[in-house]
C-alpha cells in the first residue's frame, strides 16, 4: 500500500513539475561536476606538494645506490643500472657505524629519559596545583622558548668548563668530552625544546578529572602516590609521545652537542657532519687495504651515510607516527 502510494506520488510529481525536475537534475549534475573537478585539483595539488616534500629523500635514496659511473651517466635519473650496496658498507665504516649507532641511541635515550621525567613533574605542578607565582612562572616558561641558544650557551660552556676544573682532582667529572653536561641540564629541565614538552604534559594533565584525585585523597594517598597512581598511569600514551619527541630532537640536535661534547663522543650526527674529513682515513676496507687506496669521495657515499643515519628515526616514525601528530595537537598551542 505504502509503496504504491509512494509510486503514485512520484509519478504525480514527475508529471506535474517535469520542467522543474529537469532543471533540478541539471543543477545537481552541474554541482557534482564542479565538485569532482575541485576534488581533482585538490588531489593534484596535495600530491605535487607531497612529491616536493619527498623529493630530497627519494633523490638521496636513489643516489645512495649509484656507482660512480651511474652518477655521471646522463641516462640514469632515478634508477641506477647496477644497485651498488657497497656504498653502504663504505659509509658504515666512515661513520664508524657500530660505535656511533650505540652511542647515538644511548645518548638520545638517556637525555630523553631525564627530560620526560622532569617535564612530567613540572607539568604536574602546573596542571594540578595553585601556588604563588604560578602564572609568572608559566609565562616565563613559555618565553624561555624564544631565547636563542647562543646567548645561553656561551656562559653555560664557561660554567661547565670551570666546574669540571674544580672537580678535576676528584676524578668524578669527565669533563667537556662527554655528554655529562647535557645530562645535567636535562635533569634540571633545560634540554632541547623542554618548554614544549612541559606544555604537552600540562595540557594533558589538565584533562584528568578532579574527582579521581579527590577519591585518591579520601583513600589517604599522598601527593607522590596521586602523581604515580593517577596521573602517570592514566597518561602513558602522552609519556610515550613526549619521550619520542625528546628522543628525536636530542638525536637531531647538533649545536649544543658540538660545543659541550665536541669530538669526545662519536654520534651519527657529528660523524656525518665531518664526513668529508673522515673519509680519507676510514673509507678503505681494513681487510683489503690495497683496493681502497685510490678511493674517491663521491656523493653516493655521502648519501648512503645520510640514509644510514636517518634509518633509526624513520623506524621510530613509522612505528609511532600517530603519536607524533597527536603530540603536536595535544600541546594545545593552537592559540586559544
Amino acid at each position: 500500500m505504502k509503496t504504491l502510494l509512494a509510486k503514485f506520488g512520484l509519478i504525480k510529481s514527475k508529471t506535474t513539475t517535469l520542467s522543474q525536475n529537469t532543471k533540478e537534475y541539471i543543477r545537481t549534475h552541474k554541482t557534482r561536476i564542479t565538485h569532482i573537478i575541485s576534488q581533482i585539483v585538490i588531489y593534484v595539488f596535495l600530491i605535487t606538494i607531497a612529491y616536493v616534500f619527498l623529493f630530497p629523500i627519494l633523490k638521496m635514496i636513489s643516489l645512495s645506490f649509484m656507482t660512480s659511473t651511474d652518477l655521471v651517466n646522463p641516462e640514469v635519473v632515478w634508477f641506477p643500472k647496477v644497485f651498488s650496496f657497497s656504498n653502504f658498507a663504505v659509509a658504515w665504516r666512515v661513520l664508524n657505524g657500530s660505535v656511533s649507532l650505540v652511542n647515538s641511541i644511548q645518548y638520545s635515550f638517556l637525555l630523553a629519559f631525564f627530560q620526560t621525567v622532569i617535564s612530567a613533574l613540572t607539568g604536574f605542578a602546573f596542571a594540578r596545583y595553585e601556588f604563588r607565582g604560578k602564572k609568572f612562572l608559566y609565562t616565563v616558561l613559555l618565553l624561555s622558548f624564544i631565547i636563542p641558544v647562543p646567548i645561553l650557551l656561551i656562559t653555560q660552556y664557561n660554567m661547565f668548563n670551570s666546574l669540571y676544573q674544580q672537580f678535576e682532582w676528584t676524578g668524578v667529572g669527565k669533563g667537556l668530552n662527554t655528554y655529562q653536561s647535557q645530562l645535567i641540564m636535562a635533569f634540571f629541565g633545560q634540554g632541547v625544546n623542554s618548554a614544549i614538552l612541559i606544555m604537552i604534559f600540562v595540557n594533558f594533565f589538565k584533562l584528568i578529572p578532579n574527582d579521581l584525585y579527590e577519591a585518591g585523597k579520601i583513600d589517604g594517598a599522598n601527593p607522590a602516590q596521586l602523581f604515580w597512581h593517577i596521573t602517570i598511569k592514566l597518561s602513558l600514551s602522552t609519556i610515550v609521545v613526549v619521550f619520542l619527541f625528546s628522543f628525536v630532537w636530542n638525536w637531531n640536535e647538533t649545536y649544543v652537542t658540538n660545543m659541550l661534547v665536541g669530538d669526545g663522543v662519536e654520534l651519527f650526527t657529528n660523524q656525518l657532519g665531518k664526513f668529508d674529513s673522515l673519509f680519507g682515513t676510514r673509507a678503505s676496507d681494513p681487510a683489503r687495504p690495497d683496493e681502497g687506496s685510490g678511493m674517491q669521495l663521491v656523493e653516493s657515499y655521502k648519501m648512503a651515510a645520510t640514509v644510514i643515519s636517518i634509518i633509526p628515526l624513520l623506524l621510530i616514525y613509522f612505528v609511532g607516527q600517530k603519536s607524533f601528530v597527536q603530540g603536536i595537537e595535544k600541546t594545545g598551542i593552537t592559540g586559544e
Binding site: 664557561n158 601528530v325 603536536i328
Partner: protein
C-alpha cells in the same frame, strides 16, 4: 551530614596550605635549572659584552673595554662576516616565515576539505620534522636536492632581476631552497588543521544563510579564527629557523669563542645582538598577528537566528507528533 561537611571543609583548607609547598617540590628541579642554566647565563652573557675576556691558566680574565672605539660592539660592527650574515638571516626569516605560514594554511585547508587519505598526506608532511638535523639538511642542500625548479631561466625572474636585484636575491634564496622551506611546514600544517577542525560548523551554516560564498567564508571566518594559531606558528617558525643548524650566525658566534684575539667578550656581543634581532622579529610577528580579531557581528547574530530557527523547527516537529498521537 553536617559532620561530613565540616570535615570536608577542614581538609580542604589544610590541603590548600600544603599544596603550595608540594607544588614547589614538584617544580623545584625545573626552577633551579631555569635559574642556573637560563637566567644566570642570559645576564652573564650580556654582562660579558662590556669586557675583553681572555683565558689565562684556565681562568677567565675580564678587562673592561667599553671605551671610545666602542669596545666589543665596535669590533662587531667592523667584523667582516657577522653583519652580512645577520642581514642574510633576517632576509631568510622575512621570506621563509610568511611562505611557511601561507603554505601551511593552504595545505591545512585542502586537507580539511575531507579528502580521502588525509592521514597519508599528514604522515608525509610531518616526516621532515623527524629527520631534519643540521648535517642531514646540510648534505641534502649541498647536493642540490633542495631545489626543484630551474627558476633562473624563468622570464619573470629575469624581469625582477633587472628591476630589483635585492628582491631577486631574496626570491632566489626562497626558490633555491623551496623544498627545505616546505620542510618547515610540517608542524604548522598540523596546528592549522587542528584549529580548523575546531571551528563550529554552525558558523559556516550561519554565514551561508547570510549569503556568503566559500571565498567569503574563508576570509571572514576561517582566517580570523585561525589568526592566533598563525601567531603561534610564526613564533615557532622564527625559533625553528633560528636553531636551524645552517644558520650562519651560529657558527660565527661559536668560532669567535675559540679565537684568542676576540674571545668570549666578542662572542657574547654577537650573541646579544643576534638575540635582540630575534626578539625584534618575534615583536613584529606579534604586531602583525598577535592581536585576535573579532568575527563580524553579522554572522554571530545569524548564528543566534539559526539557533532560534532550529528551536522553532523542533517545536513544530513536536507539535506535529502530538497531532499524530492525537
Amino acid at each position: 551530614m553536617a559532620k561530613n561537611k565540616t570535615l570536608k571543609s577542614l581538609t580542604a583548607t589544610s590541603n590548600i596550605e600544603n599544596q603550595n609547598k608540594i607544588a614547589y617540590l614538584f617544580i623545584l628541579p625545573w626552577m633551579l635549572g631555569f635559574l642556573v642554566f637560563v637566567v644566570y647565563p642570559f645576564f652573564q652573557t650580556i654582562y660579558n659584552t662590556a669586557f675583553q675576556i681572555t683565558r689565562e691558566a684556565n681562568t677567565l680574565v675580564y678587562t673592561y673595554n667599553l671605551n671610545v672605539t666602542g669596545g666589543n660592539f665596535g669590533t662587531a660592527f667592523r667584523n667582516l662576516y657577522f653583519f652580512p650574515e645577520l642581514i642574510d638571516f633576517v632576509i631568510m626569516e622575512a621570506t621563509y616565515v610568511p611562505t611557511i605560514i601561507i603554505v601551511g594554511f593552504i595545505l591545512a585547508i585542502l586537507l580539511n576539505t575531507g579528502v580521502k587519505g588525509q592521514s597519508v598526506f599528514r604522515v608525509i608532511y610531518f616526516l621532515p620534522v623527524i629527520i631534519m638535523s643540521g648535517p642531514v639538511t646540510g648534505i641534502l642542500r649541498w647536493n642540490g636536492a633542495g631545489s626543484l625548479l630551474d627558476y633562473e631561466s624563468n622570464i619573470v625572474f629575469k624581469m625582477i632581476l633587472s628591476y630589483s636585484p635585492g628582491l631577486a636575491e631574496a626570491l632566489s634564496g626562497l626558490f633555491s631552497n623551496f623544498t627545505m622551506v616546505l620542510w618547515f611546514t610540517g608542524i604548522p600544517v598540523i596546528l592549522f588543521l587542528n584549529a580548523l577542525q575546531k571551528i563550529n560548523v554552525n558558523l559556516y551554516e550561519a554565514a551561508k544563510i547570510d549569503g556568503a560564498n566559500g571565498w567569503q567564508i574563508l576570509w571572514k571566518i576561517k582566517v580570523p579564527i585561525v589568526k592566533p594559531t598563525a601567531f603561534v606558528t610564526a613564533i615557532f617558525t622564527i625559533v625553528q629557523l633560528g636553531t636551524f643548524a645552517l644558520n650562519p650566525v651560529y657558527y660565527t658566534i661559536q668560532n669567535s669563542i675559540y679565537t684568542s684575539a676576540a674571545g668570549i667578550g666578542l662572542a657574547s656581543t654577537f650573541a646579544f645582538i643576534y638575540t635582540i634581532v630575534v626578539f625584534a622579529l618575534v615583536g613584529i610577528a606579534y604586531l602583525l598577528l598577535g592581536r585576535p580579531e573579532k568575527i563580524k557581528q553579522v554572522t554571530l547574530s545569524s548564528i543566534q537566528r539559526l539557533n532560534m530557527e532550529n528551536i522553532a523547527k523542533r517545536r513544530l516537529k513536536q507539535k506535529n507528533r502530538e497531532v499524530v498521537v492525537k
